[in-house]
């Protein structure tokens, strides 16, 4: 392996000496790799909680009354906590805190994040937010059951579970989470902008870094809206202000509130909430691009277009939020504008899909587990994207809004699809993190059950939405328009959900078992081009690069270059004088940042 590097004069004290002792190394660690693992494991742990809650809900829907513990209150508490945990505490934390932390410094050739101490604080703050969230299960009245959207007035009024304590802890936890995210996010952005190694221009960044970078920018712009709405709702709940509260007659009692606007909260929430969809989608887009390219041994098709598409999607994601509010009672003329912007965003998104598929075309496709998950991602994401065009197209949303069509849509597009990429990414980078391969057979079993199972859960669910079955319903007793066959379908869906959930334990077993027993992977088992695979040690040591930082000479996608001896050329391999003008425009293109 060509290891070209230059002496890193800026090797500072922090990185000069490796921290000693278990606690310094693995607990109060400032090493981005350890922080990444901490984030990942915490997110997986809290995600399991959300998974178990989805089982309990599905039992109630498929086999009503079968579990005595799932009563109305608990059902709504599960809906809420499941949704919130999945979106925020699992996906956002795992993509940015987990993948972002691990991959950014390694992929851009840095020794660490630029503010390692703040990075460490980010994790511990995140952990605190998780603990506050989990604590809400143990307070009187339990966690909030207001739905993950936490719409007031309902969220803070009697009649909603967890109105006394649960909602307070939920809001406090979110506010803490935003603080944690901000510390991490500032780090990711500054690191990408400031700490790229020599030769790593922005237009040579792997798409994974682009995806995480733009997602972080979105997060830093969007999360403040969640932050302020959380604080304002806390004030409404605790001090009796009326930001979101009009005059309300709550269960026979006239409350002191007056003049506030429930719709204001919805605007603030979705101003955060829609970009949030892309905060979990863009890192997924980036990762899947790199997985496909690597495992199909072919350059990503249309790299520049992919970067522009990420930027366009990121920008547009801030002007589509009210497509969640077509039937909210807001001024109906907004519908024209938001339907227009929403459908426009489909164009850059479609370009990404085309380019993934075209990357496969004339590739040399290795059907490894990461590749399988990538293919599953594309199919699931496209299915979910298509149903998004229904819901974005204002008037078509009217019959479908608040039905199971919506549940099917968002699970496909922002639930299952990102989870599939996460799995793909974990199978792909696990060897770098541990030095061992995950077991392939277990991986394939896990893949097929998860992919086909989630499709079986969520594809038919669209049709329950066509029937008109409303979401967030504890029971469907006595609703005449729902045919018996729909109840039957719900039973099948529940069974599929149980199977899919169980398969995840196979994956967890694989994670644990392979860390000890897995086949040693070597430094670069997938024969990848990007820098993280070119570290002198695997797993990379403290400071990542030994004495010398790598120098980058080419883009991240030199696979199967005509005339080259191997079917990949690492980014840090210098051009060979005897093979001139190999791969034209793109490398020359790389403008300085």
């Amino acid at each position: 392996m060509a290891q070209t590097a230059f002496v890193d004069e800026g090797l500072d004290h922090e990185h000069g000496h490796e921290p000693q002792g278990f606690i310094a190394k693995y607990i109060w660690s400032q090493d981005h790799k350890v922080i990444a693992i901490q984030y990942t494991l915490t997110a997986i742990a809290v995600g399991l909680l959300a998974l178990v809650m989805s089982w309990l809900m599905r039992m109630q829907i498929g086999f009503p009354g079968s579990l005595e513990m799932v009563d109305q209150e608990r059902y709504y508490q599960f809906v809420t906590m499941h949704g919130m945990i999945m979106v925020i505490y699992l996906l956002t934390a795992l993509f940015l805190g987990g993948f972002g932390n691990y991959l950014i410094p390694l992929m851009i050739g840095a020794r660490d994040m630029v503010f390692p101490y703040v990075n460490m604080l980010s994790y511990w703050t995140y952990l605190l937010s998780v603990l506050v969230l989990v604590a809400s299960f143990f307070v009187p009245g339990g966690p909030t059951g207001a739905g993950w959207t936490l719409y007031p007035p309902q969220a803070i009024l009697p009649g909603t579970p967890g109105r006394d304590w649960g909602i307070i802890l939920m809001l406090v936890s979110l506010v803490i989470f935003v603080a944690a995210f901000t510390m991490g996010g500032l780090n990711y952005i500054t690191t990408v902008l400031q700490a790229r190694t020599r030769g790593m221009t922005m237009m040579r960044l792997p798409l994974t870094v682009w995806g995480i970078f733009v997602a972080t920018v979105l997060g830093l712009l969007a999360f403040p809206a969640l932050f302020v709405s959380g604080v304002m709702m806390l004030l409404d709940r605790l001090l009796g202000t009326s930001f979101f509260m009009p005059a309300v007659l709550s269960q026979g009692e006239m409350l002191e509130y007056s003049g506030g606007s429930p719709l204001l909260f919805q605007h603030l929430f979705w101003f955060f909430g829609h970009p949030e969809v892309y905060i979990v989608a863009l890192p997924g887009f980036g990762i899947v691009s790199d997985l496909i390219s690597t495992h199909a041994r072919k350059n990503i098709f249309g790299y520049r277009m992919m970067v522009w598409a990420i930027l366009a999607i990121g920008g547009l994601s801030f002007v589509v939020w009210a497509h969640h509010m077509y039937v909210s009672g807001m001024n109906p003329y907004f519908g024209f504008f938001f339907a227009f912007t929403t459908l426009i965003i489909a164009i850059p998104t479609a370009i990404k899909v085309y380019n993934w598929v075209l990357t496969l075309w004339r590739g040399d496709i290795h059907l490894t587990v990461p590749m399988l998950f990538s293919l599953a991602f594309i199919l699931t994401f496209v299915a979910g994207g298509m149903s998004g065009l229904f819901l974005g197209n204002v008037v078509v949303d009217v019959p479908l809004s608040d039905t199971y069509f919506v549940v099917a849509h968002f699970h496909m597009v922002m639930g299952v699809a990102p989870i599939l990429v996460i799995f793909g990414g974990l199978y792909h980078w696990y060897p770098k993190v541990t030095g061992r391969m995950l077991n392939d057979t277990l991986g394939k079993i896990h893949f097929w059950i998860t992919f086909l199972g989630t499709y079986a859960i969520f594809f038919p669910m669209h049709y329950l939405g066509f029937v008109g079955i409303p979401r967030r319903y504890f029971e469907f007793e006595g609703i005449a328009f729902i045919p018996d066959s729909a109840h039957l379908l719900n039973e099948w869906i529940t069974i599929a959900a149980l199977v899919v959930g169980a398969a995840q334990f196979l994956f967890l077993f694989n994670l644990a078992w392979s860390a000890v027993r897995g086949r040693p992977s070597g430094a670069n088992p997938w024969r990848s081009t990007t820098l993280e695979w070119q570290t002198p040690e695997t797993p990379p040591g403290h400071g990542n690069w030994g004495a010398r930082l790598p120098i980058v000479y080419r883009w991240a996608y030199d696979f199967s270059v005509p005339g080259a001896a191997e079917d990949y050329i690492p980014q840090n391999r210098p051009p060979e004088r005897d093979a001139p003008g190999l791969h034209g425009s793109l490398r020359a293109e790389g403008a300085a940042p």
Partner: protein, 285 residues
């Protein structure tokens, strides 16, 4: 090979499922056939794109799976192809968006001559109000609500005196007349939803929202609440009966007007009604 075949089978299976699915819309009972049409246009376009794109992917996976000695092409970009695909996508998007916006324009404009009815939501029941002989709903406000005045009508407002109040969650509507449904909530968000009418809209406390439709088929339909409103959400049901004008009128007349509900003759002095309401309920203006 196997993977490509499974992917293709999944796509073909999805298409077949869609064609054979017994799970489909309830029969339409309002004028909003145009919504259904727009939905079908969207369905056909997105379904076709999904099938073609994913079958192409399945084919690529089968055709270009790894073989010994095979090597991938090197093709960083293809300007023409990318532009062409962008253009085609834009056309498809426009084909869905245009009818969508046209129908939306109808959806938000209440036709001349539509009648009005108010749906009032509270945890977890429905009540309704018709404007009475003058055709205009009297002003109402949550802060005026008392046991005697459950709609919070303003006793000072003469237009409210003849308003017909319907409690018990059963609404009747005459077939064939466009109706503007005015929505109000006393406590939290709710949503007035009748699947057969296709239309729905949130009720928002502190403001008045609306939508309109023409009930076209006589029959009895369920009203569901489609916006999470607390533990009783799935139990917040009502009924709407669509009938001919001839059956509707007598039904409407059975229900008390606001004035009657206060135990007074309709012609009684407005000021007197006000005194009574304020005396008993303590609702300050």
């Amino acid at each position: 090979m196997a993977v490509g075949v499974i992917l293709a089978a999944l796509v073909v299976g999805s298409v077949i499922f869609s064609l054979l699915s017994p799970w489909w819309f309830t029969p339409l009972a309002s004028n909003w056939g145009t919504i259904d049409d727009t939905l079908i246009i969207t369905f056909v376009i997105t379904g076709a794109v999904f099938a073609v794109l994913m079958l192409f992917m399945a084919y690529a996976v089968a055709r270009f799976r790894h073989r010994d000695g095979a090597r991938a092409d090197y093709e960083p970009e293809n300007r023409r192809l990318e532009l062409w695909l962008t253009g085609a996508t834009s056309v498809g998007i426009a084909a869905m968006l245009a009818p969508g916006l046209i129908v939306w324009n109808d959806f938000i404009r209440v036709p001349e001559g539509a009648s009005t009815v108010e749906a009032l939501g509270q945890q977890w029941s429905w009540s309704f109000r018709f404007p009475g002989a003058d055709g205009v709903l009297g002003t109402a406000d949550t802060s005026r609500i008392t046991a005697e005045n459950p709609f919070g009508l303003d006793p000072d407002d003469p237009r409210g005196r003849d308003d017909v109040l319907v409690s018990g969650g059963e609404l009747h509507l005459p077939a064939g007349t466009p109706v503007k449904v005015v929505l109000r909530s006393t406590d939290v968000l709710h949503n007035f939803y009748v699947p057969q009418f296709r239309a729905k809209m949130d009720l928002v406390p502190g403001m008045v929202s609306y939508f309109w439709f023409t009930p076209e088929k006589t029959g009895t339909y369920e009203i569901l609440c489609a916006e999470l409103c607390g533990v009783g959400h799935s139990l917040m049901r009502g009924t709407v009966v669509v009938e001919d004008e001839g059956t509707f009128r007598p039904w409407l007349e059975q229900n008390p007007t606001f004035a009657q509900s206060l135990g007074r003759r309709p012609e009684q002095d407005v000021a007197e009604i006000r005194d009574e309401v304020q005396g008993e309920g303590g609702a300050e203006p």
